[in-house]
Amino acid sequence: MRRTKALNRPVMLTLVALAAMVALVVSGAYSTMPSDATTGSAGFRACPLQCEVDRELYLKDPPFRGHDVVELQQRLKQLNIYKGKIDGIFGRSTAQSVKKFQAQAGLRPDGVVRGETWDKLGEGIHVPASQATVPRPPGKIKLLVNVDELTLTVYSGDKPYKTYPIAIGQWTTPTQLGEFTIIDKGYNPGGPFGTRWLGLNVPWGSYGIHGTNRPWSIGTAASQGCIRMFNEHVEEIFDWVSIGTKVIITGQYLEEDLVTGVERELKPGDTGKDIRYVQYRLRQAGFDPGPVDGWFGPAMQSAVRQLQDFYGLPATGKVGSNELYVLGLR
């Protein structure tokens, strides 16, 4: 009898552990994406620091510095809790303001800014009416992001369907201009990415359109290059767009942002910001390189050959010094 009892305890503990694991999986504590024939990747693709900053903030020496601290200070100032300078430095007064806010919000006042604190900070932000009953736009959809007006417009064919406010990259980490497509979709990435993620095919980095836990930043240049929307808005367009939907990011300072040196011979298959700039210049010169997306694809090769044919240059299909000269890039 005693041996049986001794044996039963480990077995029971093992069974309990297994049951707990099954329960966790079934309850969806891990973010799993529902099956969606429109998604092209296995799930949410983590956006590295290049796109958004996601770290815990607390008082330390040396102090945290960065735009996320700026955003924190801005919000605390809006709530009339923080009275100091918005300097992007997580100092003593910022930490005290955080504790004060946490106490008011019913959180543990430990001065550490993590997910739940950001979420509470975002409460009460007025979201422009999202008209939840707006039906899916008919026809072919594309998105136009205007970094000057800080708007994202959904187009149905060639007609604007609905416009949303956005936040874009700061001037030190600007949102990439050009013509891209959506290459993946994600549910509930969480944290600074909010409730939805739409990844773009920017060749030199990981950029996308996503929700946010800092809704007060909408309407400002706040991110590391991504496009932020209110969660309600990105959830709305999430179901409308699919992999391959065109996203055009444009703005008045188009040329200044695109200007970059071209120091190598460009050939089909290459990617890079220099390719994007050459695509832009090709289009200005009257040759259509396809989307200005930084990829030397078939459309760009065709445009290069047309340019070479027009100017009577050797028909190589590549961009070398002759082509850079006639495009005014040398």
């Binding site: 010169a285 065709s302 009577g312 050797p314 028909a315 010094s321 002759n322 040398r330």
Partner: protein, 523 residues
């Protein structure tokens, strides 16, 4: 017995005099009437023949009858019915340029068409833009083969219009004073077998481009070359002067006399033209002479040692002051040279790194100037040229041939409208030369043609020779010879793998093989 009076005998009496005089007068009047009627008839036919504008257009207008008797269906006197609706189809090339104010060319053309429609509201015009890079000539050929061409095709002059059976010769639309309004070369380039086959729009010229500063340092005045031309032997001498310091200079600082684009056959064909050889009508001797000239340039170091590689750096070598002359240069490359040259002149661009061969301190200075292509002798001087023109077709309309004539007549009027005045804006953008002399004045202002460029254009037009084959059947032949014979043979020549004489043999044999017949002659 009564005596019979013989009126003819005896002296005339007063009555007979009267009767005789009256009959003479009647005869005179009759003859005068006949003469006057005859003169009137001649005038009725002759005056409208000589001055058609004295009568309105009508199918029985004497001139119209005359045209019909000659088999000309489309002429200036085809009457148009203001109550009838006409539809025109226009094919235009989608030129890669922007209008002033950043309006695309398409919009600009549509505005011109809208102006025309204000005068002719019963005419609707559909415009199709053919992609620049596709071969518009091939698309026209397909359309002609299917007997469904557009009413107007705008593009490089295409001799296929002659034999299509649907092309409209425009000779009758060019009265003497109208002909004089055009640049003579424009008429010549669109004329085949005595008829003008297209309404000239603009002219494209090819030449070489030089760095005037380098040439002057070598004691050569570009204006003299432009006015007088230069021969192959003179060019070799000039090339020697330009490259005399190269033996003691690092390779990366050497200056070359000439850099050519060797990846296309144009450079070689243009030199053949300057040896008196029209497209496809070259002789083995002409090929050998041309190749020998290039061989000498290579052996003397006037050309870069690896011409193929240098082709890929043509503009870099020019703008860095490392080659005195480049070619071939057509309108588009001319536009680049002119625009960039202006920016260098205004100090907006650093023209390039210092070239120790030319100056120890100053950066390379480049002053682009257009130059004629050297010819074997001065008498053989030729400027490769082509015309872009409006080709008019009479589209078949079964059961309504009158409408077909009328529509073609309106197409000519539209072509005239698009070719002149503001329509020449495009020629200015493309740095081509408007065919109408009246447009060249404001075009020159817009182009801001400098003295030497103006001189080049005037002189070059005098020596313009067509690079378009004479006959329709020659187009395919020339393309075949270029692809299968010239390009591969020249590739070997530029790499130094064949001599000039061997090149001539290969091209001659290859051309016969492709054409299936002898060339112009062996010498």
């Amino acid at each position: 017995m009564a005596r019979r009076i013989d009126p003819g005998s005896g002296p005339p009496g007063p009555a007979r005099i009267w009767i005789g005089s009256g009959m003479k007068i009647i005869k005179i009047i009759k003859w005068a009437t006949v003469v006057i009627l005859a003169l009137g008839a001649c005038a009725a036919v002759g005056i409208p023949l000589a001055r058609p504008e004295v009568l309105p257009p009508h199918r029985y207008h004497p001139r119209a009858v005359y045209y019909r008797l000659r088999g000309i269906r489309v002429h200036p006197l085809v009457p148009m019915d203001p109550n009838k609706r006409y539809e025109l189809e226009v094919w235009e090339t989608d030129w890669p340029v922007q209008a002033t104010g950043k309006v695309p060319y398409r919009e600009f053309l549509r505005k011109l068409i809208a102006e025309f429609r204000e005068r002719r509201p019963n005419v609707s015009i559909e415009c199709t833009f053919l992609p620049f890079h596709s071969d518009p000539g091939e698309r026209l050929k397909s359309a002609l083969d299917a007997a469904s061409p557009p009413d107007i095709y705008i593009g490089p002059f295409n001799p296929r219009i002659m034999t299509s059976g649907l092309g409209v010769p425009l000779t009758v639309f060019f009265a003497d004073e109208q002909r004089a309004a055009f640049e003579p070369a424009a008429i010549t380039l669109t004329t085949r077998r005595g008829d003008i086959w297209a309404w000239p729009r603009w002219l494209e010229l090819w030449g070489w481009a030089g760095n005037a500063k380098l040439l002057r340092k070598a004691g050569i005045e570009p204006g003299y070359i432009i006015s007088n031309g230069w021969t192959w032997s003179e060019f070799i001498e000039i090339g020697r002067k330009l490259t005399q310091g190269n033996a003691f200079t690092k390779p990366e600082w050497r200056i070359y006399g000439l850099t050519l684009d060797t990846t296309r056959t144009d450079a070689f064909e243009h030199l053949l033209l300057n040896d008196g050889a029209a497209p496809l009508n070259w002789t083995r001797a002409q090929i050998a002479e041309t190749a020998a000239f290039l061989e000498v340039l290579g052996n003397e170091g006037i050309l870069p040692p690896e011409p193929d590689t240098a082709s890929g750096e043509l503009l870099e070598l020019f703008w860095e002051g490392r080659t005195a002359v480049i070619g071939p240069v057509g309108p588009a490359l001319l536009r680049h040279l002119w625009e960039r040259g202006e920016r260098v002149r205004l100090g907006q661009i650093n023209p390039g790194p210092a070239n120790l061969a030319t100056s120890t301190l100053a950066p390379a200075q480049v002053e682009p100037v257009l130059l004629p292509i050297p010819s074997r002798t001065r008498e053989l001087r030729a400027t490769p040229a082509a015309a872009v023109a409006f080709h008019i077709f009479r589209r078949p309309r079964p059961g309504d041939s009158a409408s077909a004539d009328e529509t073609a007549r309106i197409a000519v009027e539209l072509a005239r409208h698009l070719a002149s005045g503001r329509g020449a804006w495009l020629a200015a953008r493309l740095k081509a030369i408007p065919a109408l002399r009246a447009d060249q004045a404001w075009w020159a202002d817009d182009f801001q043609v400098g003295l030497l460029a103006d001189l080049f254009i005037r002189e070059s037009l005098r020596y313009a020779r067509s690079i378009t084959p004479e006959l329709p059947g020659d187009i395919e032949k020339l393309n075949a010879v270029r692809q299968k014979v010239l390009a591969p043979a020249l590739a070997q020549f530029w790499r130094g793998r064949v001599t000039a004489s061997r090149l001539a043999e290969e091209i001659d044999a290859g051309t016969r093989s492709v054409l299936g017949s002898p060339t112009a002659g062996d010498q």
